[in-house]
């Protein structure tokens, strides 16, 4: 059920002659993304099942699953050939170069997203995460967010200012990695909503709902991205 429409996508609304002649075919890899989404969703679902058996500790659970999430994400990146998903104004030659070293790109992306984790932590704090308490929980949440949102994006997109400016401006073209990142953000944002309610449930402890929101948002975004990415469209 993978879509195999092979239109290259560009920032510019009107495709230039060179880009329409681009030799790199694009695949949306819907199946792979669907598998990855369900593999990643296994984490929150599995936690729910486990928590009914074991006393749950968000920090331990988050830390325990972190490598697994990184592994699933890395597999997905390698199998969906991020080189083919390049979002850039840059020329074809650059893209070719990137697609050559998928594994090394993946490792680089993983390291970069780890490096950016403290930055995400800061963003969570700005949104109201506790500053003095639950620091490990917030940090692990940031690590998960980095793996979900940043890691695929860092591998799929060249590291130039122009591209990342487009991403920051929410103007980048639709790709599974990009929409998954947006979905993660939206999910995490919505995940904060039930925290203040006085229901006294265990799952209301920080950062459980945000983690769940991020994962669900990521899966939804990834699938939407996979469906839409064949089309010449902007969000």
């Amino acid at each position: 059920m993978a879509r195999t429409k092979s239109t290259p996508r560009h920032i510019a609304a009107s495709p230039s002659p060179t880009s329409s002649a681009s030799p790199i075919p694009h695949k949306s890899y819907f199946l792979q993304h669907a598998i990855t989404s369900s593999a990643l969703l296994a984490f929150p679902v599995g936690t729910v099942v486990l928590s009914s058996l074991l006393p749950s500790d968000p920090v331990r659970t988050l830390g325990f699953f972190l490598p697994a999430v990184a592994f699933v994400q890395a597999l997905n990146i390698i199998f969906t050939h991020p080189g083919a998903e390049v979002v850039s104004k840059s020329r074809v030659t650059k893209k070719k170069k990137q697609s050559e070293g998928t594994v090394s790109t993946t490792i680089l992306g993983l390291m970069l997203s780890m490096l950016l984790t403290p930055f995400i932590h800061l963003v969570y704090v700005l949104f109201g995460a506790p500053v003095t308490v639950s620091v490990p929980a917030t940090f692990l949440l940031s690590a998960h967010t980095a793996l979900l949102a940043l890691f695929p994006l860092l591998c799929a997109v060249p590291l130039d200012g122009e591209t990342w400016m487009q991403i920051a401006a929410l103007k980048a073209p639709i790709t599974p990695a990009y929409v998954a990142a947006l979905g993660t953000i939206a999910g995490a944002w919505l995940g904060a909503v039930p925290i203040p309610l006085d229901w006294d449930r265990e799952w209301q402890t920080w950062p459980v709902t945000v983690v769940f929101g991020a994962y669900v948002g990521n899966a939804v975004g990834r699938l939407i991205g996979a469906v839409l990415s064949g089309k010449e469209k902007k969000l």
Partner: protein
């Protein structure tokens, strides 16, 4: 991106069109006034239905025939009673505690607990439960009349109101022919019972009132009461009731908090008083001693709400005659139970409107005689039955009559007094329960009418906002036509409403509804004649409307109301990130970099604004107050004062940096901001330093001197900020401009020499440039805005003052962002909406909560030692509603910021006024949408468990804030019209 050049050529000043402009700006300023009126009308209607009141009956009880029934045996009465009311005497202040956590208030006032253990037939301690609101006025009413206070009384703590219901005070006068009451203490008693002021006996004065509201004075009232207490206790034959109302404990709580050395000192003083009183009446078995607290206090020392600490007061009874049935453990009684108990112990009729039950152990007596308890219960039940049959609220309610009938039957049939008294007590309890529900019955039609006007007003606001875009269609073009329609509609509505209301005997409500709806219908009639105009709706406008809904939806759940400050911070930070994303879309690299920095700044400010907080009870234990020096005090901390000094120096520099972006730090600006504002803020910090030193226990010797300096500083500041600066602004019109003249003779000569005839002929001999022209309106209005900020900062506690400075900083950041992202023109509603959100956020940052207890009453004494209108009221209003007032006043800045005048263009000035009105309606859409959602949620949740604790106070805050924002918008529109006229006069 500045919309206009920094400099512009000057022009000559034609005087034409001045009066025409004045007319059109003034008529435009009518628009916000109309909307304010509509929202006020709606608010009044809703509040009348929601904030309950209780019908009061004037009947006075007399002893019924039951008293002479041979089966009725009542406890032996006392000749006289000494009532010592220690304000805010919490239950745990008078119980002995093994808990050795070192709290200052524990085990200080020990006489009650020691006596009740040593002599259980003579003395007993009770847990004395108050019905909220736990404010002294309501408590005194309940403690004397035995009735339930209603919520609407809570607001009248300042004025007091004479009690016209029956009470034991009244009964002493009417039943004992010689009834005499001696009184010393809180003068609230005299406003409740003016008859007390005639307390003389054989020419001797028995009344010694003291002013009650100066919460910073811990000793004057208490020392005075004590000084009169001894002579009165010696002359025991001169009075039947002696009331002594001590305030020191309450004031120590408000000023310092319960867990402080000052509180311990105060409680030890009370201990000494009680010891001496007990000794004085030890040999007198005809005197009863009643020591009671009217309410408790929360852990900060405040009261008004219904937390455990606030409602659990202490009660202590003592007499040298054994009269109590010893109980195993402390009984819990309602405060109103004191009323029938005291009536029996003084052999008075139970007040006509009493709802309490007699306290069992005092009725049973030392020999556990249930006949006495049953007799007393029978009399009280009879009195309650009588009351219910007279009271209009109980018409057609018969369910409790059966309970009463069954109990009476048991009385007639059997001698099992224990079960009889149980039956009667059950009746009394059910009655109390039904009364509590009864007086929580809302006037639904009135609430619905209010909500309907809110909906109609919001609709009208939206129509107005989307019709008159300010550019093409100025409101002033059509107001000539619309205003009479609105007035005519209102008049017709008033007449129709009054007529219909008279028929339905709901005159007030239907007339108010008629005026509101009539004027709206009149407006709609007028609008139909106007050409249809549709302005495009930008994404930002959708976002603004969405954020109003997001803020309003918080009122749907008590949890979000409790955590509103954090939720708002979350919302504002989200806004910041949207601004950040939008900033990245800007094409120009330099503008983009500036906008990105401002967006990041906005995010940080939004997060910081959440930091200063006073936790409300429901937030515990997930919240730690940091507004004051510690969680259990209401004294500001030294670091806060130091930061306030820092703010005094940094804040003017921040304003300067913003003005410099448009080269507007010219003309009056350096004097006004660099020197004036800075000096004012330093003095504000100085005031709080003096206050801090005064509160220090080691500085007691200098208190008087410090006080004098304190009041000098605060009054000078009041004069400068509230009166001086606005007056100077109106009179002097301080434009932030500098005129720069360049002599071009040299240039022309050079051009001639070079043979460049073209340049030579085009260059004027003298060129004149106006520096700061690009922000003429903005800088001018900003000067007034910061001076009002200074007035608000003066009335805030140190941390509150810092928070206000951050708020103005954030407003400036937002203005820069709005300028860069061109929000002011694409979506004039967005910036006012964000400012409105900020207003509520900073309300919380200034140490407030949506509770009555969080009102910082002590700022009433900022300028004066006693209550002195209007200074007291101005201080309280600016302290409580300051953020909302500043937000409303900031609205014209969203039009004026970086706006340059168009010389010789009358229409351009009219258009600016049109845009000001449009921004004003935008802000009113936020305020109106919020209050509408609040009313809907309050209406839906009016039977919610938390309605009085959470939703009613939030509704009151919403009501007060909508009036404050709208009022400030009306004022700001007027000020903006002055600015526009003034600039037109200068530039033509």
């Amino acid at each position: 991106m500045p919309r206009s050049p920094r400099t512009a050529p000057t022009s000559s000043v034609p005087r034409a069109g001045q009066s025409q402009l004045k007319y059109s700006t003034r008529i435009s300023a009518l628009v916000p006034i109309w909307f304010l009126t509509l929202q006020l009308l709606a608010l009044v209607l809703f509040a009348l239905g929601f904030l309950l009141s209780r019908p009061v009956l004037p009947d006075i009880a007399v002893k019924s025939t039951t008293y002479s029934d041979p089966d009725v045996v009542l406890p032996r009465g006392f000749n006289r009673v000494v009532v010592i009311l220690i304000d805010a005497l919490r239950h745990d202040f008078i119980t002995s505690s093994d808990n050795n956590n070192g709290a200052y208030y524990l085990n200080a006032l020990t006489t009650p607990s020691l006596l009740s253990v040593a002599e259980p037939e003579h003395a007993a301690v009770f847990k004395f439960i108050a019905d909220p609101p736990t404010t002294t006025l309501q408590r005194l009413k309940a403690l004397t009349t035995g009735s339930l206070p209603t919520f609407i009384d809570a607001g009248s703590n300042f004025n007091g109101a004479e009690v016209t219901e029956d009470s034991w005070i009244q009964q002493v006068h009417s039943s004992r022919g010689h009834g005499r009451i001696a009184f010393a203490g809180d003068d609230t008693w005299l406003s409740l019972f003016p008859s007390l002021s005639q307390g003389t006996y054989e020419g001797m004065n028995l009344t010694f009132p003291y002013e009650s509201f100066n919460v910073w004075d811990l000793h004057t009232v208490d020392a005075g009461v004590t000084s009169h207490l001894w002579p009165l206790l010696q002359r025991r034959d001169d009075w039947d009731i002696l009331i002594a109302h001590y305030l020191g404990v309450d004031h120590a709580g408000h000023r310092f908090g319960p867990n402080t050395p000052q509180m311990k000192e105060k409680l030890l003083e009370m201990e000494a008083v009680l010891k001496s009183v007990v000794n004085a009446i030890k040999d007198d078995d005809e005197t009863l001693l009643v020591v009671l607290g009217d309410h408790g206090m929360d852990e900060k020392g405040d009261h008004g709400g219904d937390s455990k600490g606030e409602v659990e007061a202490g009660l202590f009874l003592y007499s040298s005659r054994p009269f109590l049935a010893p109980a195993d453990q402390a009984e819990t009684v309602n405060q109103i139970d004191l009323v029938p108990t005291l009536s029996f112990l003084l052999d008075l009729p139970v007040p006509f409107n009493n709802l309490g039950s007699p306290i069992a152990s005092a009725m049973l007596g030392t020999d556990y005689d249930f006949q006495k308890l049953a007799s007393a219960s029978r009399i009280v039940a009879e009195q309650i039955h009588q009351y219910r049959s007279h009271h209009p609220s109980f018409e057609g309610m018969a369910e409790l009559t059966e309970v009463y009938g069954a109990a009476s039957e048991a009385w007639n049939m059997s001698k099992d007094y224990e079960s009889i008294s149980k039956l009667y007590l059950a009746y009394q309890e059910q009655n109390l329960k039904s009364c509590r529900e009864m007086w929580a019955r809302f006037d639904v039609p009135s609430m619905v009418a209010g909500t309907v006007i809110f909906v109609a007003t919001l609709g009208t606001l939206l129509v107005f906002y989307f019709t008159f875009d300010g550019e093409v269609e100025c409101p002033s073009d059509h107001l000539n036509f619309l205003a009479p329609k609105v007035g005519y509609g209102g008049l017709v509505g008033l007449v129709t409403g009054a007529g219909l209301g008279f028929l339905q005997s709901r005159l007030l409500i239907v007339s108010v509804f008629g005026v509101g709806m009539g004027s709206i219908i009149g407006f709609c009639q007028g609008m139909r004649r106007l050409p249809r105009i549709k302005s495009a709706v930008s994404k930002w406008t959708v976002l603004a409307l969405l954020s109003i809904v997001l803020h309003g939806i918080l009122f749907a759940s008590n949890s979000y109301v409790v955590w509103e400050a954090r939720s708002l911070s979350f919302l504002l930070v989200s806004f910041g990130f949207i601004f950040l994303a939008a900033s990245f879309r800007l094409p120009d690299a330099k503008t983009r970099a500036t906008a990105v920095l401002h967006a990041i700044m906005f995010i940080i400010q939004s997060r910081l604004a959440e930091y200063p907080r006073i936790c409300r009870e429901e937030q515990l234990p997930f919240c730690t107050s940091n507004f004051y020096a510690s969680t259990a005090s209401s004294v500001s901390s030294l670091p806060a004062i130091l930061v306030l000094f820092g703010t005094a120096f940094a804040f003017p520099a921040i304003i300067r940096s913003f003005l410099r972006t448009s080269a507007s730090y010219e003309g009056s600006a350096p004097l006004w901001i660099g020197i004036g504002l800075r000096a004012v803020l330093v003095l504000v910090a100085l005031y709080w330093t003096l206050d801090y030193v005064e509160a220090n226990p080691n500085a007691q010797t200098y208190v008087e001197v410090l006080k004098i300096y304190k009041y000098i500083v605060s009054r000078v500041l009041f004069g400068v900020t509230v009166i001086g600066a606005p007056l100077a602004w109106f009179r002097g019109f301080p434009l932030c401009l500098r005129v720069e003249m360049t002599n071009n003779q040299q240039k022309i000569k050079q051009a001639v020499q070079n043979g460049d005839v073209d340049t030579a002929s085009k260059t004027a001999p003298v060129s004149v440039e106006v520096i700061g022209f690009g922000n003429t309106y903005g800088s001018l209005y900003l000067l007034l805005f910061v001076s009002i900020f200074a007035a608000v900062a003066l009335c805030m506690k140190p941390v509150g003052g810092i928070a206000m400075a951050v708020m103005v900083y954030q407003v400036m950041t937002l203005l820069e962002l709005g300028d860069a992202l061109e929000l002011f023109t694409t979506s004039p509603i967005l910036t006012p909406t964000v400012i409105g959100l900020m207003a509520t956020q900073y309300y919380f940052a200034t140490g407030h909560q949506a509770t009555l207890a969080s009102i910082q009453w002590d700022v009433a004494f900022l300028f004066t030692e006693s209550i002195r209108p209007p200074l007291t009221h101005i201080a309280l209003i600016l302290n409580t509603l300051g953020p909302f007032i500043l937000a409303g006043l900031a609205v014209p800045l969203t039009v004026f910021y970086k706006l340059s005048p168009s010389p010789r263009d009358l229409r351009a000035s009219e258009v600016i006024m049109g845009r000001v009105v449009r921004a004003a309606t935008g802000a009113m859409i936020y305020a109106g949408g919020l209050i509408l959602l609040n009313c809907i949620m309050t209406f839906v949740l009016r039977r919610h468990l938390m309605v009085w604790k959470i939703f009613a106070p939030r509704f009151m805050l919403a009501g007060a804030s909508v009036i404050a924002i709208d009022g400030a918008i009306v004022a700001s529109t007027f000020l903006a019209s002055k600015a526009i006229e003034g600039v037109f006069e200068v530039f033509g």
